[in-house]
Each structure stands twice: as structure tokens, then as C-alpha cells.
Symmetry: C2
Subunit: 205 residues, 2 copies
């Protein structure tokens, strides 16, 4: 029986370092030497544990995506009401991303660079689909509690309002002339602001 967990685990050190560097510089911008330095180890060890840059990257990307996928799934597959889903997702997502500010950029950038990743990840992770959400929304529209809107459009809007500010942070900070603290405060406000905005937009009057 091989117990690998001596109190300093090289493999974990590498993954953490790779996460930092890849999220900061992207696949192409990252250097293996840089990752090794960040992890405080010899470069050859990276290849000993993860064979190639590509494989190391895919491991990191997969891990990052696994963190975000369940949150999106919660909009689509939970059993709560549309209104509750919007409230919960908005609050939870903004809280989560405030602690992982590089994540969305990293994921969307690499997803755009290499479309294959989606299909790769789709196979290994329980990947959400829109079907259940669609039926739920159609029911509420029929009941008349919600104005007519396509599930796809509402779904896009929910994601957009929550995720975009973090993708556009440098631009937003510059145009609204806010410093780091004020920006964070704006995001904090959005935990309720965004859900009110959406619910206002779709509630029948």
C-alpha cells in the first residue's frame, strides 16, 4: 500500500503553481520554467508528473471547469422556482468568483481558442443541458407569472449579467473610473442588484 501523502505533496504543489501561471498567462503565454519556479521545484519534475505542457494544462483546465459547471447546472436542473434560482445563482456565483477572479477569463479565453476542449470536458463532467429549465419556464409563462421569453435568451441574460463584469473588469474600472475597492463594492451590490434587475425584467405587471 503506497501512501503518497507525505506532508508536502509535489503533485499538488505543481497543480497549484500551474493554476496560477496558466490563469495569469494562458496556455501560450505560460512557461514551464515559470511554473516550476512558482512551485519551487526542478522543471523536469513537471514532465515526470504530467508528461507534457499540454497535459498539465488540460488537467488545470478540467479542474477549473469542474468548479464552474455545477453552478451553471444549478440554474438549469434545480427544483426551486425560477425566481429562487435567479436569486441563488446570482448570490452564489458572485460570491464564488470574487474569490477566484481569474477563473472566468481563463475558461472563456481557452474555450474560444480551442473549441475541442468543450467536447472533451463534456464527456468527463456531468454537463448541464437546458431542457428542464425550458419546460419550467414555459410552464411559468403559461401560468402568466412571467412575461413571454425564450429559455435560451433568459439563460444567456442570467449568465451575462453575472459573469461579464469579471471578464470586463479592466474596461469597467477604467470607464467608471473606480479603484479596486470601489469595484469590489459594486460587485458586492450586484449580489442583489442583478437578481432584482432580472426579476423586474421578466415579472408580469
Amino acid at each position: 500500500m503506497k501512501l503518497k501523502t507525505k506532508d508536502s505533496n509535489t503533485e499538488t504543489d505543481i497543480l497549484n503553481a500551474a493554476e496560477v501561471i496558466f490563469q495569469r498567462k494562458g496556455l501560450d503565454g505560460a512557461r514551464m520554467q515559470e511554473i516550476a519556479d512558482e512551485a519551487g521545484i526542478n522543471k523536469a519534475l513537471l514532465h515526470y508528473y504530467f508528461r507534457s505542457k499540454q497535459l498539465l494544462f488540460e488537467t488545470v483546465f478540467h479542474k477549473a471547469f469542474s468548479l464552474i459547471a455545477p453552478q451553471i447546472k444549478s440554474i438549469l436542473d434545480d427544483n426551486s422556482s425560477i425566481e429562487d434560482k435567479i436569486k441563488n445563482f446570482t448570490h452564489n456565483y458572485i460570491t464564488f468568483i470574487s474569490e477566484h477572479p481569474y477563473l472566468p477569463n481563463f475558461i472563456f479565453q481557452e474555450l474560444n481558442r480551442n473549441t475541442d476542449f468543450i467536447s472533451k470536458v463534456q464527456k468527463t463532467i456531468g454537463f448541464p443541458t437546458i431542457d428542464k429549465f425550458k419546460k419550467q419556464l414555459e410552464r411559468e409563462v403559461k401560468k402568466g407569472t412571467v412575461i413571454p421569453i425564450k429559455a435560451e435568451q433568459l439563460f444567456i441574460n442570467i449568465l451575462a449579467l453575472n459573469i461579464f463584469p469579471f471578464l470586463a473588469k479592466p474596461l469597467i474600472k477604467s470607464i467608471t473610473n473606480t479603484d479596486e475597492n470601489t469595484f469590489n463594492h459594486l460587485m458586492e451590490e450586484r449580489k442583489t442588484e442583478v437578481s432584482n434587475f432580472i426579476i423586474n425584467a421578466i415579472k408580469r405587471k
Copy 2:
């Protein structure tokens, strides 16, 4: 008097090629040889006209940003009503980006990678600020035509709903299970869908 415009202009060829490659691969992922091939010229010519990869990139980035900045400026500085601004921006922006689908990704990615770009660009382009929009919105809130909302938040929401779908295209296509045509159709719908959504959200009932 030096008339440079013989009917094939190498400098323009290079810029067009660089635009394609940089937008597809990013600063780090692009290869000078690849740009030369795309332009159909010798690699040394790139350096003859633009000295270094960095400078060529900055020229391309600047040009790209110059295309988007005036559109954002129109939300902030136009003299029309808030409602008209939202309608016009939504329609114009989605039309514009549908013809330049790589643009937003390119800009936001490089802006996140290298924050200095913002200050560089800010100096050379008439860069929009939020002040005028803020006053306009405060007036409308006081009049009671619009529910209370911070200018910053509304501005972020407008940008988010319009820009995000293009940044998240691969993810959205995958989750909503739509092909290229259906996606384009969704975006076409959004030209009115998004402005209705926003106006619904902020109109006092």
C-alpha cells in the same frame, strides 16, 4: 510628394493579416511567420514595416479598440433619451459584432493580460467617461420614469447583455445545443430582445 498607394499596399496587407492571426491566436499564440504567410510576404518585411511583434500587435489592438470605443461612447455621451440609447446601442452593437465576431474576445483577453494597454489607448483615443450618463440617469430617476439604479450598474448591465453572448459563444452553443445558424438567429433576436429586457427592468410600473 510621396504617393504610396500603388494598388497593392503591403502595409495594409500586413495589418489585415496580423489582425486575422492575432485575433485568432492572441499575442502569445501568434507567430510572425504565420502572419507573413497570411499576408503572402517575406517575414523580414514585417519587421521592415513594424519593427517588432510587440509594435505590430499594438497597432492592431489600437485599431480594434478604435472600432469599439465610439459605440460605447454613444451610450454615455449621446443626447438621446435613456430608452433610445438602449435601443440604439443594442441594435447597432449586435449588428456590428456579428460582422466582427472575434473582436470582443480579442480585446477583453488582451486587456486582461496586459492592463497597461488601457492607459496607453486611453491617451490616444477619445475615451468615454460615465459622468454625463450618470447625471442623465439621476434626472430620470428623480422624474420617476425610471426605478432607482446606479449609473454604473445600469451601464455594466447594458454592456453585459450585449457583449457577453459573443464572449461565451462556445459555451452557450454547447449548453443550449444550438448550431451556428441557430446561434446567429438567437443573436438576431437579441437586437430587440435585449433592449426590451433592459427597459422592462428599469421602467417604473
